[in-house]
C-alpha cells in the first residue's frame, strides 16, 4: 500500500523497498538548445524497444509527423518555428517578409520529449494492479505481464504520456481466455521504460546513446541537476532568449521530474503543462469528501422513510 503523503522531493517508499538492490536515481537531462531535430532518438527507441510503427502521416506541422507521445511513440521530437530572435543580443537568423519593413528574426526550436519519470507519478499512484512500479533506479515502468488494460493511468498522467495500445493482436497470440469479453487489440498501456533492460545491464538508454549532439544526457539525477544549472548560467550569460529549466525543481507539483528539460520558451509552446500537479496530491481531501458524501447519502436515504410507506 502506497502512502497518501503530500508530494515531496523523494519518491514514496523509495529506495527503502529495494534494500541492498537500490541504485542511485537515474534520469535524463534533455538540453533542447543543442537538439538538431534528427529524430535519431525516436528511431533508436523504436528499434531497441520493438515499439511498433503507428502510422505515417504528413501533418504539415514543421518537421513533426509524430505529433505526440503515445503507446507507440516513447520519444517525440517537437519542432517550433518562431519569429523570435534566438539571442537577445548579437546576430540572429532573420526572414524577409516584406521589402518595406525590417526583416523579422527567426528561430527553430526542437525538443525531444519523453516520459518524465515523475518523483510522484500519477500513473503509478492510480494503477490498481501494481503493474506500474518504481524500479531500483527510481524510474517508473509498466510490467506488461501484469497490466490488465484498465486505462486509469492514461487520464491520470499530467503530461499525456502513457497510452493504451490499440493494435491488432498478432496471430500467434494465445487464444482469448474470456472470448465473450475479448477485443482484437493489445489492450495494455505502454510508455518509456528509461530502457530498464539496458540499465540493468549497465548501459545507457538507447536514445541517449544515439543522440549525436548530447542533447539527451543520461546520468544520476543529482549530477544532472547540477550540470543543468551550470548550463543555464552559461546560456544566460550568452543572452539566449527565454532559456529556462523545466522539471528540475523537487518542490513542484510532481516532486520534480526524473527526466527534465532545458527549454527556450514557455512549456506550453512545446505542448507541456506549465504547472503539472500529480492528481493524488488532492486525494486525501477527496477521500474525506467521498466518505462524507457516503455518510450523508446513508442518512438521506433513511430519511426517505419518514412519513410512512405511502
Amino acid at each position: 500500500m502506497t502512502s497518501l503523503a503530500e508530494p515531496t522531493g523523494a519518491p514514496a517508499a523509495w529506495p527503502d523497498t529495494w534494500g541492498d538492490e537500490a541504485k542511485p536515481r537515474m534520469g535524463f537531462f534533455t538540453d533542447t538548445t543543442v537538439c538538431i531535430g534528427c529524430k535519431a532518438c525516436e528511431v533508436a527507441c523504436k528499434e531497441w524497444n520493438l515499439v511498433p510503427e503507428d502510422g505515417l502521416v504528413w501533418t504539415g506541422e514543421s518537421y513533426d509527423n509524430t505529433s505526440h507521445l503515445n503507446a507507440n511513440t516513447w520519444r517525440h521530437v517537437t519542432f517550433i518555428e518562431q519569429r523570435k530572435p534566438l539571442k537577445l543580443e548579437g546576430e540572429t537568423a532573420t526572414v524577409e517578409t516584406d521589402a518595406a519593413v525590417q526583416p523579422e528574426p527567426l528561430r527553430w526550436l526542437m525538443e525531444s520529449d519523453v516520459c518524465k519519470h515523475c518523483t510522484h507519478a500519477g500513473c503509478l499512484d492510480v494503477c490498481p494492479t501494481g503493474a506500474l512500479f518504481r524500479t531500483e533506479f527510481g524510474t517508473v515502468v509498466v510490467q506488461e505481464d501484469v497490466c490488465n488494460g484498465c486505462g486509469y493511468c492514461v487520464p491520470a498522467c499530467p503530461f499525456g504520456v502513457i497510452d493504451k495500445r490499440d493494435l491488432p493482436r498478432s496471430p500467434d497470440d494465445a487464444p482469448l481466455a474470456l472470448p465473450l469479453f475479448g477485443k482484437k487489440e493489445d489492450g495494455r498501456v505502454w510508455k518509456c521504460t528509461l530502457c530498464y533492460d539496458r540499465l540493468k545491464g549497465g548501459h545507457e538508454p538507447a536514445c541517449a546513446k544515439t543522440c549525436p549532439t548530447d542533447s539527451i544526457q543520461f546520468g544520476e539525477l543529482d549530477e544532472l541537476r547540477e550540470r543543468a544549472e551550470k548550463r543555464l548560467e552559461k546560456l544566460r550569460e550568452e543572452r539566449w532568449n527565454g532559456a529556462r529549466l523545466y522539471g528540475h525543481d523537487p518542490d513542484d507539483g510532481v516532486g520534480g521530474f526524473g527526466a527534465f528539460f532545458l527549454l527556450l520558451d514557455e512549456p506550453e509552446v512545446y505542448g507541456l503543462p506549465p504547472d503539472p500537479v500529480v492528481p493524488t496530491k488532492h486525494l486525501p481531501r477527496l477521500w474525506v469528501s467521498t466518505a462524507l458524501a457516503a455518510g450523508a447519502m446513508f442518512v438521506g436515504l433513511a430519511a426517505a422513510f419518514i412519513g410512512g410507506s405511502e
Binding site: 500500500m1 493504451k164 506549465p274 503539472p276 477527496l286 458524501a293 433513511a302 430519511a303 405511502e310
Partner: protein
C-alpha cells in the same frame, strides 16, 4: 491505430503565419486571454474508457443506494418495498462487474484488480468495495430467493448496506483523481453529485416495480436525490467557470440538457401524481432513470472534451503560477 484526429473544438488560429506556435484567442469566459499551444494539440490524454464505464457508474450507484434502502425498508416493516430494492440492487450488482470486465483491455486479467489494495488508487479501493458490496447483496438476494440461512442473510444485508454508499460515491473520486481539468477541478462536488444521482436512480427503479401505496419512500428518495443532483450539478458548473464550459458544449452539453429535462419532468411526475397513479409512477421513475443515466454520460463526455482542448489544461495552470509568483 492511435488517433491523429484534427482538433474539432476551439481550433487553433495560426495567425496567418506559416507553421509555428499557434496563438489562441480567449473564449467567451476568458475574454482577452491568449496562450500558446503546440499546434493546438492536447496536453493531457483523453480517457480510453468505453461507454461501459458511465453505465457502470449508473448501475453501481443503483446497487449502492438500493442496498441501504432495502435494509431500512425491512426495518420499517415494508417487506414488499424491501424486496423491490433487494432485487433491483442485486441485478445492478450483477451487471456492474460484467461492464467493468468488458471495458478492460485484457478482460482475462480482471482478477489482477485484487492483487493489492492501494489507497492512492480509487479504482483499487473501488474494486474491493464492489467485491464486498456486490458479493453481500447477491448473497442476500440468493438466500432470500431460496428462503434459507436467515442469520447469514441478515449479515449479508448489513454488510451490503454499509458498503452501499461508498460504492455509489467512490466513482466520483475515481474520475476526480485524474489530470482531466473538468473532472479534477470538480473534486469537491463529484462524489456528492454521484451519490445524489445514485439515490435518485435507486428510488426511481423501485418506484416502477412497487405498488404505489407501498412505494412512498422510493418516490421520496427519487425526488430528493434528483433535486439534490440538479442543485449540485448547477453549483458545480457555476463554480468551475471557464473549465466548466464543456457542460454547455458538444455532446456533454446536449446530454446535460437531456439529463436536466428528464430529471425535472420525472421528479415532478413522481411528486405530483406518483401516489395516485401507477402509470404516472412508472413513467416518472423511467424519466428519472433516463435523466440520471444522461447525467453520467454528460460527465463522462465532458472529460473527453476537456482533455482535447489544451486551453482548459494550460490557462488554469498559468493562472495558478501567476498567483504563486504574485504571492511571493
Amino acid at each position: 491505430m492511435t488517433d491523429r484526429r484534427p482538433i474539432e473544438e476551439g481550433r487553433a488560429q495560426t495567425d496567418g503565419r506559416p507553421g509555428g506556435t499557434t496563438e489562441w484567442r480567449g473564449s467567451i469566459t476568458e475574454r482577452g486571454t491568449t496562450m500558446s499551444s503546440y499546434y493546438g494539440r492536447p496536453v493531457v490524454k483523453e480517457p480510453v474508457w468505453n461507454p461501459e464505464i458511465p453505465c457502470y457508474f449508473f448501475t453501481g450507484g443503483i446497487a449502492g443506494a438500493s442496498a441501504v434502502l432495502h435494509v431500512v425498508a425491512k426495518l420499517t416493516g415494508n417487506e414488499r418495498l424491501a424486496k423491490s430494492f433487494l432485487y433491483v440492487g442485486a441485478a445492478a450488482d450483477v451487471a456492474s462487474p460484467i461492464l467493468l470486465i468488458k471495458d478492460l483491455g485484457r478482460p482475462e486479467r480482471f482478477l489482477h484488480m485484487l492483487r493489492m489494495f492501494k489507497v492512492t488508487s480509487p479504482m483499487s479501493v473501488g474494486s474491493w468495495i464492489l467485491l464486498v458490496s456486490g458479493g453481500a447483496s447477491n448473497t442476500a438476494a440468493a438466500l432470500e430467493l431460496l428462503g434459507i440461512l436467515r442469520p447469514v442473510r441478515w449479515a449479508a444485508e448489513a454488510v451490503s448496506a454499509l458498503a452501499g454508499p461508498p460504492l455509489a460515491t467512490y466513482t466520483g473520486a475515481l474520475v476526480a483523481n485524474t489530470s482531466i481539468p473538468v473532472w479534477s477541478e470538480a473534486r469537491d462536488e463529484l462524489p456528492w453529485l454521484f451519490g445524489a444521482s445514485a439515490a435518485a436512480s435507486a428510488g426511481a427503479a423501485a418506484a416502477i416495480v412497487t405498488p404505489t401505496e407501498l412505494a412512498g419512500p422510493a418516490r421520496r428518495a427519487a425526488v430528493g436525490g434528483a433535486a439534490t443532483a440538479l442543485l449540485l450539478g448547477q453549483g458545480m458548473e457555476r463554480r468551475l467557470g471557464f473549465v466548466g464550459e464543456v457542460y454547455r458544449q458538444g455532446e456533454a452539453g446536449r446530454f446535460n440538457k437531456i439529463a436536466k429535462a428528464c430529471t425535472i419532468a420525472g421528479g415532478a411526475l413522481l411528486a405530483g401524481r406518483g401516489k395516485r397513479s401507477r402509470a404516472a409512477s412508472a413513467a416518472g421513475g423511467a424519466l428519472v432513470l433516463a435523466g440520471e443515466l444522461a447525467l453520467r454520460w454528460s460527465v463522462f463526455r465532458a472529460g473527453f472534451q476537456s482533455a482535447r482542448d489544451p486551453r482548459y489544461t494550460v490557462i488554469p495552470q498559468k493562472k495558478r503560477l501567476a498567483k504563486r509568483k504574485g504571492g511571493q
